[in-house]
């Protein structure tokens, strides 16, 4: 099993350009998440999905869009990149269980994005 994979590993964008980050998991997890990690701030949730065809906003969703057309894939899009979106992006996935049970999230290797 590859676990959670992310493509690309590193990317440089100019302000205003668009791009899509791809996350794939082969663990048959229901839930998937996108986070960003900035120095001194830990990880912050951007968007998440609790199943194929569903998405929801997290803590910092502005400037990003997501899609979950297939259960194993979760795409993060930047329509018009800004320097404030320079960050390391992590994808995560977990089994889906109903409250009050919370499963562990497993993370991909990260994508480093630099917006000039």
């Amino acid at each position: 099993n590859a676990g959670v994979t992310q493509t690309p590993k590193f990317r440089v964008l100019k302000t205003g350009q668009s791009m899509t980050l791809l996350c794939a998991q082969d663990m048959n997890h229901e839930y998937m998440y996108w986070y960003r990690q900035d120095p001194g701030m830990g990880l912050r949730l951007i968007h998440y999905s609790v199943g194929e065809g569903t998405t929801a906003k997290g803590e910092v969703p502005d400037g990003y869009n997501v899609s979950r057309l297939k259960k194993q894939n979760f795409l993060l899009g930047l329509e018009s990149a800004a320097p404030s979106q320079t960050s390391v992006y992590f994808c995560a996935s977990s089994y889906g269980r109903l409250p009050p049970y919370q499963e562990t999230q497993y993370f991909g290797p990260g994508t480093r994005l630099l917006v000039l």
């Binding site: 839930y31 949730l45 999230q105 993370f107 990260g110």
Partner: protein, 116 residues
């Protein structure tokens, strides 16, 4: 509100010393989960432990141990006889079972430097 505080930004120890990483949380959930992740210099996030709020037993795994105290809202992590390979950033995270279910709230991390 859900919040995780890791007040120690950076800790330096000499190999074989014991070290404790502090984690204090706030939540209005009565049932919740706490996690610790390790982020070595290579950048990936490695899951270490998950603990639910209705199990207050402390846990030991090799050189690692965790002290969960509901009365003080703390979930501290101790490494005994530290090694250079323990050098990493360690994150504590919280997820509520009712409010903001499926959302993880991360602390800002503690960077541990273990010197030979």
């Amino acid at each position: 509100a859900q919040k995780v505080t890791q007040a120690q930004t950076e800790i330096s120890v000499v190999e074989k010393e014991d070290v404790t990483l502090d984690c204090v949380y706030e939540t209005r959930d009565t049932t919740y989960y706490l996690f610790w992740y390790k982020q070595p210099p290579s950048g990936e996030l490695v899951f270490l432990i998950r603990r639910n709020s209705f199990d207050e037993q402390n846990e030991i795994s090799g050189r690692y141990s965790w002290n969960f105290q509901k009365s003080t809202s703390s979930f501290n992590f101790t490494i005994t006889a530290s090694q250079v390979v323990d050098s990493a950033v360690y994150f504590c995270a919280l997820s509520g079972a009712r409010y903001n279910f499926n959302k993880f709230y991360f602390g800002s991390g503690t960077k541990l430097n273990v010197k030979p």
